[in-house]
Symmetry: C2
Subunit: 569 residues, 2 copies
Amino acid sequence: MVPLASRQAALRIHDLDQQAMSRRVKNILFIMCDQLRWDYLSCAGHPRLHTPNIDALAARGVRFTAARVQSPICGASRMSFYTGRYVQSHGASWNGFPLKVGEMTMGDYLRPLGVETVLVGKTHMEPDTEGMARLGIDPQSIIGVRVSECGFDPYERDDGLHAFGPDGRYDPRVPRYNSYLNEKGYGGDNPWHDWANAAEGEGNKLASGWAMRNARRPARVAEEDSETPYMTRRAMDYIAQAGDRPWCLHLSFIKPHWPYIAPAPYNDMYGPDDVIPAVRSEEERRDPHPVFREFMHHRVSESFAREEVRREVIPVYMGLIKQIDDQMGVLFAFLRERGLFDNTLIVFTSDHGDYLGDHWLGEKDLFHEPSVKIPLIIYDPSPAADATRGTANDALVEAIDLAPTFIAAVGGDAEAQAHRLEGRSLMPLLHGATPARWREFTISEYDYSLSPTAVKLNIAPRDARLFMIADRRWKYIHAPGFRPMLFDLERDPDELHDLGADPAYAAERARLDAALARWGLRMSQRTTLSEDQILARRGKVQRRGILIGVWQEKDIPDELWQGYLGDRP
Amino acid sequence: MVPLASRQAALRIHDLDQQAMSRRVKNILFIMCDQLRWDYLSCAGHPRLHTPNIDALAARGVRFTAARVQSPICGASRMSFYTGRYVQSHGASWNGFPLKVGEMTMGDYLRPLGVETVLVGKTHMEPDTEGMARLGIDPQSIIGVRVSECGFDPYERDDGLHAFGPDGRYDPRVPRYNSYLNEKGYGGDNPWHDWANAAEGEGNKLASGWAMRNARRPARVAEEDSETPYMTRRAMDYIAQAGDRPWCLHLSFIKPHWPYIAPAPYNDMYGPDDVIPAVRSEEERRDPHPVFREFMHHRVSESFAREEVRREVIPVYMGLIKQIDDQMGVLFAFLRERGLFDNTLIVFTSDHGDYLGDHWLGEKDLFHEPSVKIPLIIYDPSPAADATRGTANDALVEAIDLAPTFIAAVGGDAEAQAHRLEGRSLMPLLHGATPARWREFTISEYDYSLSPTAVKLNIAPRDARLFMIADRRWKYIHAPGFRPMLFDLERDPDELHDLGADPAYAAERARLDAALARWGLRMSQRTTLSEDQILARRGKVQRRGILIGVWQEKDIPDELWQGYLGDRP
């Protein structure tokens, strides 16, 4: 039971004072990669991939080693980052599922604190056009644009997937990047594909990056015109013109997400010998959990189950990360030249991982660590953060913690917004404090209603859901309609032995199931009143004349009867 | 596991055809009383109170004998009626807690079906002014007014509590009813109190209805000018001017809610001898559940624990119901004269009950049947409903079922809105069908964050919550931070023996707790896409060029490569 909030409020004011004294954060640079595994950085221990610029950021900041996303899929994960809320709370549970109008996002919290909240790159946001129409919000108005862009002012929105097929374009918005390429002399209707995501094929033909056997061929685009450097320059364009205005810039790369193809020299910077072995075992394929089994049958999983595929694709995946690291070098030098390293909080993270054949899977979607765990490095320029520079922190951290962290970093009171924000500010951890009561579980969710697995298992959209709850040792997956899964991360860090049906672990499963049930009953939609507002209302109604249960006049003070017991009108 | 929705959709179309053939419903008259116990009607078995007009409606319709509200408190209960969603889903969990902008209400569903959705009387809606400001919605615009009035066009909004005290007015809106009374010659600033809710006191003084010892004195207002007849006339005014336009009129009375005071002759139509005994036992006061114990200490509970109070108040509570019944006679005659009984679905219900001293409690708030169970009578004029006229139906029905019922009644497809509406249409039950899978549990919730109990038990607002889950036999109450409560409604229909701590019932508690946990994990916020829309999207992304996990070109059909494998641009 939580102590009364009045006491908390007093502590909070003290914390805010302390923070203000040592605060240096004026801007926030929120860098997100797409599908970057937590362990594909040299600072996280990758034996062959060297990422000195990202490592340097980690050396000046804190690297969180137990950070997980709220859903291992782009759209749902990002909506949790941007709203600071669990997927079950915001409801945008898969790619292209609109975030309902009314959900508050980072921009709604940061703008009132004087911080321009701006996007360069990907969000995977799908606007709730029906909801906007119902509420009379013009999608072209400033408010309408922000509702459509999950709260960001789009300096440049580019979701980075400009696919097209017999039924038309995947993303109806033609990106500025295509015009840029055309202007630079790269011809065609869709230079995103034909130059940045295709190599030279046989004869006069293209070798599309969509066919993974082409992965190690060089993309046709010049390196400087490929997506990662382009988007980095766009971020620097924004920063250069922002002048003295405080900003929160979300620089959001599509890479190292598929199509797996890179421009020279990144296409062959790594080779098959640099590929680390897949984490998988034959035991996993013997009588697996039905949902796991079906995911292993997805085309991408069957491809990555083949060593041939891993040996072609993973070197390029590494090259794309190396390119990001080099661009981080460019960007950080730019910041340093402008003195922005002294007043900018810098976050480097990803929206989820990539199985790359581990556990016989490709893509993400399920909850093994290669999928659900993310790299998360936060650099705080404040002197208060000096004590933690270069450290790793193994607290259970969630993607929803970033929104409150940003609010706190620029001097806002994230705790006062806890009726909306389900995450917690990481600022105390960045400043070396150990909060008395940190969370004991990480939650992640997955909506597989659109997947081949749902079709195969004949599951209605409403029921096609998975919930992960993990503490420091155990990871439990609740799959409605099926038995659960369970992994012991201490004795089986590679998550090769599913204990979900083992009678010996019934008590462990019951404990985690009960914790998940408590989470399910949490207060997540009472978003229009804060804890403090509720406390301030306690006992007030009587002084506005509501006198419930009074037998006779003398039972309560005379002043409450003022006006009720006067002379008859 | 639910079968695939395509099959459901086929069944649904069939149902709709059937319905359309026999449908006669053009209008909906949705009558709600406030704080009317389910058992204070003669058709429900009250031995002394005769309600022939309401009984006549029951004789032509269906009386639901196991209907419960989603929260035994005005505001939260009503928001569930109006949204068709559980309290945990809409978040407006107590009186005056704003319903967040974006939540859809009856009006949003019915207006597109051509039905004017109008309010006369009380809703207890508190607008989300902060949310409206954030989204640029002008509270004075049509959309703004509807968002502020939980979806109704307010023909007359009057929450019926025009109290005032040292800190000002309880409800800042001065009601039209006050002007009406002034115009009729009832003087003073607040004739609502001074005439309709006060009697003559000693000398020249008022005897306020807020002091319950005054309950049986006649209110100073003439009966025809008291609240219930006034509001009934307002409903008839609306209906008279509506002409041929289809409408859904929410006629929402404040009575028999406190202040317990009635105009003559209703003030002394019943006397102490008509008061039925309180349902309570000494066992309940020995070592009760901590939350129950504290509620027993609320002032209103201590008052109603005294027989003297019950004997003064309950006769007037009965008189106020009798007055409603008489007004139902007036209203139904008016409808009959205009032929509206042939094309109007009529609902008679309440937002919750009133303990009246049962279980040593006053008011509502907790989950004993006198509080959580409601009267619910539905009259459907369609021939399809002939088979059920005059019957009682004991299906587990919830307040959230009315919104889908109304949609279905006027020919809409409520099932297609199941991603938003958590209730189910009662039309099949009204037409004598037995749906294959009806719900097995009723859920009700209570937020006691503002109550003296929360202060006494030192509970933070976030934790001050109760959940009831009840099936046909058992009622289980989950109280976070405390042991649960449990009642066996079969062996103990009066709910006098709390089995919440009895080791003999551990299995029953575990079963109900698990069912509540499943409910907590339900999909309630994926409101921007329907089940059918999700089914329609399955497998579509590949035909828009997203080719995940393809190794080589010949692995997938040529048509998917169109545009990707052409000549180089």
